[in-house]
């Protein structure tokens, strides 16, 4: 039984749109990577850092690397790409990571980790 065309349903259209959006981001990452040699959006955690600003970016010159190529960042180091400049016709902030959590100093209500049988 054939499956319906992917673009024939709202969910399918959303998937196609998301892929196109992601392809745009990857293309920009690749461009940035050609300069920076890095093509990912990553912060390598520095145990001594208390920064929780997702805009933090750059590459430390100390022993611990902090490398952020972040969708919302605006790097001034020249070592990172900025995926957040993509425009997809939506919010214009595909790399805005609007569901990213914030750091909290509250006591946790629940814990997320590997699913315990307890």
């Amino acid at each position: 039984m054939p499956r319906p065309s992917e673009s024939s349903t709202p969910a399918g259209r959303e998937r196609v749109r998301r892929r196109l959006r992601n392809l745009t981001r990857v293309a920009i990452l690749a461009t940035a990577g050609a300069t920076a040699g890095i093509g990912v959006v990553v912060a390598h955690d520095d145990p001594g850092s208390s920064s929780t600003d997702k805009g933090t970016s750059g590459q430390s010159t100390s022993g611990t690397t902090t490398t952020t190529i972040d969708g919302s960042s605006s790097s001034s180091t020249g070592t990172t790409g900025n995926t957040g400049t993509t425009s997809d016709g939506d919010s214009g902030n595909t790399g805005g990571f609007s569901t990213a959590p914030s750091a909290s100093s509250s006591s946790p209500t629940v814990t997320s980790g590997g699913t315990s049988s307890r």
Partner: protein, 316 residues
């Protein structure tokens, strides 16, 4: 388990109980709504289990297995769970594949985990690549499904995440205020969040207490999920294996990452990248560039990586 947070933090009321082989937790801001919320959650989870379990002989999923090779109409919830599972597979290029049921059973995971862990270790049966999600045929016109003969599905993580999303939405709507649902650490929130957001601890194991977590983050909407290689583990012959399989080999993934957590627009959205990242191993960070979910990854040597806006851990 009931407790409240007092003082400067918002007062929240929690109910927790056993379900789906783990702990189900509902947290609400209105204490008067806690019991109703817990009852709604319990009913939702019973429906999910009765529909999607590969361990219950009476589940609707077993009807699909019994009719493998032919087309069978299914109920709305199972159809939704199948669509979610196939969509997760498509979005992760097959890293999260629902056709791993036989492979999990070959490794020994053919019953509730407590039972698997309690019995003598048996060597795995023959392992190999899984059939693949592309062979799961779904037809929305008559809500029917067809899987290849002999294939067994495992809706495991996506169905649990879907259950969290459904329950949080339903409960928040029913009680008219914000709600958080956690199913063994797969978290979904709906409705208005408390001041400062819903605080969620991140730890290797979802049963970790507040003082054992590595980090605390807050979310205000969507979901947060974690996948780990050290918790749902058991012995298969001489080696330890876990529940996240590489569909290309049918074998338990070598743990390059030991814990991956993510947030997304839903718990399903978060869950699919945490599972996929475990499967992708070393290439996960590069692949995550194609996703919008914020992700925290802990490598086997303890190094922590934050991707797509996940906040850095605070200094100890």
């Amino acid at each position: 388990m009931n407790h409240s947070h007092a003082g400067p933090e918002p007062e929240l009321t929690t109910r927790a109980f056993r379900a789906l082989g783990t702990t189900a937790t509902i947290v609400v801001q209105d204490p008067a709504a806690a019991d109703e919320a817990a009852q709604l959650l319990a009913a939702d989870l019973e429906e999910i289990d009765r529909t999607c379990s590969r361990f219950r002989e009476d589940s609707e999923l077993q009807v699909v297995h019994a009719h493998a090779g032919t087309t069978v109409q299914v109920g709305e919830l199972l159809y939704q769970a199948l669509c979610v599972a196939v969509d997760a597979a498509e979005r992760t290029a097959g890293a999260v594949d629902p056709t791993v049921g036989n492979a999990l059973a070959a490794l020994g995971y053919d019953a509730d985990l407590d039972e698997v862990q309690a019995r003598p270790a048996a060597p795995p049966r023959a392992l190999g690549p899984v059939v693949g999600y592309a062979h799961v045929q779904l037809n929305p016109a008559d809500r029917s499904v067809r899987i290849p003969r002999g294939v067994r599905l495992d809706l495991g993580s996506t169905a649990k995440a879907l259950a969290a999303d459904r329950a949080a939405d339903r409960i928040a709507h029913a009680i008219g205020s914000g709600a958080l649902v956690s199913l063994g650490g797969d978290v979904a929130v709906a409705g208005a969040a408390p001041a400062g957001g819903w605080a969620v601890g991140i730890a290797r194991e979802s049963s970790a207490t507040a003082d054992q977590v590595d980090q605390v983050v807050a979310i205000t909407r969507g979901g947060l999920a974690s996948s780990a290689t050290s918790v749902r583990a058991w012995k298969a012959g001489e080696r330890e294996v876990h529940h996240i399989l590489d569909p290309r080999t049918g074998d338990s993934v070598a743990p390059y990452w030991v814990l991956v957590s993510a947030t997304g627009v839903s718990c399903v959205d978060a869950n699919l990248v945490t599972t996929a990242a475990i499967v992708w191993g070393r290439s996960a960070i590069e692949r995550l560039a194609g996703f919008e979910q914020a992700v925290r990854l802990v490598r086997a040597d303890g190094e922590v990586f934050s991707v797509n806006g996940w906040p850095l851990d605070r200094a100890a």
